[in-house]
Amino acid sequence: MQRWWLTIAVIACAPVAALANDWGMGDSNSKIPVSSIFSPVSTPAHEINVLALFTIAITAAIFVIVGGLLTYAIVRFRRRPGEDDREPPQVYGSNPIEFAWTTVPVLIVLVLILTTARTIYTVQAPTRPPGAISVRVIAHQWWWEFRYPDLGVVTANELHVPLSDRQSPTPTFLDLESADVAHSFWVPRLAGKTDVIPNRKNTMWIDPHVAGTYLGQCAEYCGTEHGLMLLRVIVEPRADFDRWVAAQKQPPALDASVAHGRQIFESTACVNCHTIQGTAAVGRFGPDLTHLMARETIGAGVAMNTRDHLRVWVDDPNVMKPGALMPAMNLGDKDLDDLVAYLATLH
């Protein structure tokens, strides 16, 4: 009998056992408000929200009226028990009624078209104030590269932008490019999505007016790890943003205690894909690691950036992100420890 219960318990737990380790992301995510399109903090998202609510109001009214009529008709004209079998009067149609229920939808559609067009032009044709920040967003299978051409900063997966206040706006303009296949840049609370398409330059803009971290991710199917091509936007007051930029422009401090780890990095395949300023590593295929430890997450948001997670990732990225294009490094335990110790100094 007890074995019976044990079997049931094991079967019931099977789905839970099938869950992967969440690498600390659950805790981190739950501290960030849900990325609802109805809680905008930036003008494009706000404009869309207003239009969305207007559209929902109209469609809800249509639903109540038509759905109500349908319900009424179904209840009122049901065949009642004991009724005779005579057929009801046959009505073949009515042109005035047809005219009425054609005209009213046409008018509703006309109103919607005009309001839609106005929002399209507001969002798609912005004026660019002098203080605007430019960022080149380059989407890769399955991570994001961010380059600030005016500031000389390169980072990955976590986009830092300054707070934009309404008196002296400092919006951020994003130039979107893809290194491989089609992707889509989407952070629901900041703006609608814009596709990132190879051989084509798209642009979008955001002007967040509430500081905080906003979650987003790739929204166009782009291959195996589309599901974990995550991104974060960190919106900071101007002073914090300037401090972050200054720190990013510093070369990483040299720490003699991790010289062996650095030597491993510079003498293995790492340098083919990664850049660390001030070293021999100038690869462009993977994320720039110069200030790796300044980022909250690794692997485009698959794990919190801790030493343990970093070790798992470098040992074999497929454990965290099956299909990731970075190969397992096949290092011995000692070398792996030293390498991770070196990476952990890249503040």
Partner: protein
């Protein structure tokens, strides 16, 4: 000489095979050119693929039931969602709807078969083997390590993910070739339907007296003839890219990724109407019979369907609002997409007008129709939301869109396919489906449908993109996804009941008789199942409802039409 060819075919083959009854029966089905048998084979084949692709969807829901799910790997998940989408459109929706038109159009126009019976058989076998080819990729699709097996590029197969550098092996080639084949078959069927409706009508049946279903079959057939070639052309280009080094969509050599999207959606959007107009057609036949009233506004219904056919060809780029079109382009496609809502609305109003003042009988086909009316209304309204381009920038490629199009494809089309099966099954087999099991099937399917797809709207609005193989905890998506998965299970149980119902009826169903629903169109005037030649003498009609005229000689339709 025709005579000598006939002699080369052993005419006695069937006689020889009669000693082996099963084989003989099978042989009859393989060599048949009868529109009814081909129609049944289309529908049965489509239902088998429906079960397979449905199980694939169930696996997807199992994977997504909990955050960080680990039931299948991302590679397997991506194959599942690609195969589910591709199969549900090309191997389920298209054949079942074609099958019904195959079966019904000749019967409804009082003809003995489609205009080109052999072409019809050709189309069916192309479809069947094309479909098998797609699933054969699971066995035969090879590639580099970790890349092989079934296609994993999504059902709209966006370039350049389908190009050689990103899709090694030949799984994508299976996707291309199988759909190329089924498209050719569908085009053949479309030509056949147009020819039958225009040339094979019985005496007295003018175009204005054709049943609504036949009219809508013509609209769908014309749309298929127009929209399938762009897809086939794009697929041919993709094959050239992959095998001969052309660069149509190869962005690394200057090709255009957007070009594929235009090609795909100029097929893909009208395709939605190719699938949903048959659902309208079933509703326009079934709702009147169970309301005991003539269809309200026949000519307006036909005109609205033609209008949908035309407008739907100029709305395709509403799938591409996020690709960075100009504001003018976005505004145009927003406007055209909203306009298609007008004729669609007219159709809903006319069904309402048909119900109004009737005596509604809530038998299973009607239950599915009534659910269809509400669900299609909601699908239309979320469609209007998606046509509002800025709203679409937020919702495109999210679960909001997944919810919207499943409201169309399941809430409208699958519901109406079930309605049509319950309605015409007695005609095709001579047996009734069980009303009691049908009620269970309907209510469970309804509950499961709403659990799954209502909640998907909200996960989309909360930032969940489509086609992701997992999602992290802590993003407010756990509860919604769990409800969606439980709903999928309920739908699965409902479909199981449906399968049992069909099996039970085939073995020991109640006899149907010629006209179990007291209906009015020509197919109910012949026996159930109809003889191979359909009608012993070609019928002559005077109105759109020939059987009404027969049953009510004192008050016939032709006086009023």
């Amino acid at each position: 000489m025709a005579g000598s060819i006939e002699h080369e075919i052993p005419l006695s083959a069937t006689d020889d095979l009669q000693s082996l009854p099963v084989l003989g029966k099978l042989h009859e089905w393989v060599v048949t050119v009868d529109h009814k048998r081909l129609g049944i084979m289309y529908i049965a084949g489509g239902l088998v693929f429906f079960l397979v692709a449905g199980l694939q969807a169930a696996t997807i829901r199992l994977q997504l039931a909990f955050p960080d799910g680990n039931i299948v790997s991302p590679q397997v998940f991506n194959r599942l969602m690609t195969m589910h989408g591709t199969a549900m459109v090309f191997m389920v929706g298209m054949p079942i709807l074609t099958g019904f038109f195959n079966y019904l159009v000749p019967l409804m126009v009082g003809a003995r078969d489609l205009a080109f019976p052999r072409l019809n058989a050709f189309g069916f076998w192309l479809w069947l083997f094309g479909s098998l080819l797609l699933y054969f990729s699971y066995l035969a699709g090879d590639g580099l390590y970790g890349a092989g097996s079934a296609p994993d590029v999504g059902w709209f197969a966006y370039a350049p993910l389908t190009e050689l550098p990103f899709s090694r092996g030949n799984s994508t080639d299976y996707w291309i070739l199988s759909i190329l084949l089924t498209s050719v078959g569908s085009t053949a069927t479309a030509i056949n339907i147009v020819a039958t409706a225009f040339c094979m009508r019985c005496e007295g049946m003018t175009l204005g007296k054709m049943p609504v279903l036949v009219w809508l079959a013509v609209v769908v057939a014309f749309m298929m003839i127009v929209v399938l070639p762009p897809l086939s052309a794009a697929q041919a280009m993709l094959l050239l890219d992959r095998f001969l080094g052309a660069h149509f969509f190869d962005t690394q050599a200057g090709g255009s990724a957007i070009l594929w999207q235009h090609f795909f959606w100029i097929f893909g959007h009208p395709e939605v109407y190719v699938l949903v107009i048959p659902a309208f057609a079933f509703a326009s036949e079934i709702i009147p019979v169970f309301s005991r009233k003539v269809i309200f506004g026949y000519s307006i219904m036909v005109a609205a369907s033609c209008g949908i056919g035309f407008i739907s060809m100029s709305v395709w780029a509403h799938h591409m609002f996020a690709v960075g079109m100009t504001p003018a382009g976005n505004s145009f496609f927003a406007a055209s997409s909203m306009l298609v809502g007008v004729p669609t609305g007219i159709k809903i109003f006319n069904w309402l007008g048909t119900i109004w003042g009737g005596k509604l009988r809530f038998q299973v086909p009607m239950l599915f129709c009534l659910a269809f009316l509400f669900q299609f209304l909601i699908a239309g309204l979320t469609g209007i939301m998606l046509a509002v381009a800025p709203f679409d920038w937020q919702t495109t490629d999210t679960y909001f869109v997944v919810a919207h199009f499943h409201y169309v494809l399941v809430g409208a089309i699958v519901f109406m396919i079930f309605a049509a099966i319950y309605y015409w099954f007695p005609k095709a087999t001579g047996r009734m489906l069980s009303e009691k099991l049908g009620q269970w099937h309907f209510w469970l399917f309804l509950i499961g449908f709403h659990m799954t797809f209502d909640t998907m709207h909200f996960s989309g609005l909360r930032g969940m993109p489509r086609r992701i193989y997992t999602y992290q905890p802590g993003r407010g998506l756990e509860t919604l996804n769990l409800i969606e998965s439980i709903g999928a299970l309920v739908q699965g149980i409902a479909v199981l009941i449906f399968v049992i119902n069909v099996m039970r009826s085939l073995l020991a169903g109640e006899e149907a008789g010629n006209d179990p629903w007291d209906a009015w169109t020509l197919e109910w005037s012949t026996t159930s199942p109809p003889p191979e030649y359909n009608f012993a003498t070609p019928p002559v009609v005077r109105s759109r409802r020939p059987l009404w005229d027969l049953k009510h000689p004192d008050d016939p339709d032709w006086k009023y039409e």
